[in-house]
């Protein structure tokens, strides 16, 4: 039975993906020499998703699994996008309030006069 369910693929495939992962890692390391900005962030994300995709699809054999498993595993993390979106908004708000209350020299207000 184990032979029937086991994932058996030619070794060559693994070597090709291995090489690709090495190339992509080199490329993502190279982005560190670029200036910070949208182009660099775009490259970082592109190489990251390509590497993650190859690891999941080929090394973890997700490509050959049935849809029932693929959707059960890859579907739920999509809700994380909501969390990331909310926390990004929240972070911006916290920064604004911090700049308002902590860093700018306080203008004299009605409260200050009370002392």
């Amino acid at each position: 039975m184990s032979e029937a369910t086991g994932q058996q693929h030619p070794l060559k495939l693994y070597f090709v993906i291995w090489g690709l992962l090495f190339a992509l890692s080199t490329a993502s390391y190279a982005t560190d020499f670029l200036e910070h900005g949208y182009f660099r962030w775009f490259l970082i994300l592109t190489f990251m998703f390509l590497k993650a995709g190859f690891i999941i699809a080929i090394f973890m054999h997700m490509k050959w699994e049935r849809l029932a498993l693929i959707w059960a595993i890859l579907g739920p993390p999509a809700v994380l996008l909501v969390l990331i979106g909310l926390m990004a908004v929240e972070g911006d708000y916290t920064e604004l309030t911090r700049r308002d209350f902590f860093s700018a020299p306080l203008a004299p207000t009605g409260h200050a006069e009370a002392h």
């Binding site: 369910t5 970082i44 990251m48 090394f59 990331i84 990004a88 911090r98």
Partner: protein
Amino acid sequence: MAHSETVPAAGSNEPGWQELVGDWSADKQTFQVPWGKAMMWIFLLSDTFIFSCFLTGYMNVRISTPVEWPNPSVVFGLEVFGFNVPLLLIGIMTFVLITSSGTMALAVNFGYRRDRGRAAALMFITAAFGAIFVGMQAFEWSKLIIEEGIRPWGNPMGASQFGASFFMITGFHGLHVSAGVAYLTIVAMKVLRGDYEKKGYEIVEITGLYWHFVDLVWVFIFAFFYLW
């Protein structure tokens, strides 16, 4: 459509939505993989949420601080022969982990070929690369704590949230690698002893799933913490 006796093919085997709906609605087992593999996938799914929460928390504190974030490229740079190479150690650690993922993938393949000697040997090599990774991380941590004076509550370079995010995220990942080294070593010894000759070698693939996941998490940490 050949229906096996032991694992009845639930619903339709047509590729696409019919297969998905059939598997989920057949009143039988949903995932037609060994139970250990399904459980490992579900564990990894929960781990995905843990690491995502850490990375999202890091994103939140990094956005919310008005103080300049320390430049990882400089903080993690190493001086080699008088040259300052940015992110050198982290780059090497990335390649060590990618290499170990490759040897793990080969181990799974040899396991299914019932070549247990090679499968076990490749698993031991994978564990050794994992141990090297943890060793380099220990070096990096000591350098940051002792020489750079980085603490979870502050550091001399900038935003004080840097240390907390760094130790939390890389520490939890390092813990996963260490656990993986132990897990790989135990399973490799059992493979070598021939414990799985009757049961089959799915266990190598299940162990491999865990190991590839550790590598996968590093891909995200490398992109978001070290390169961003």
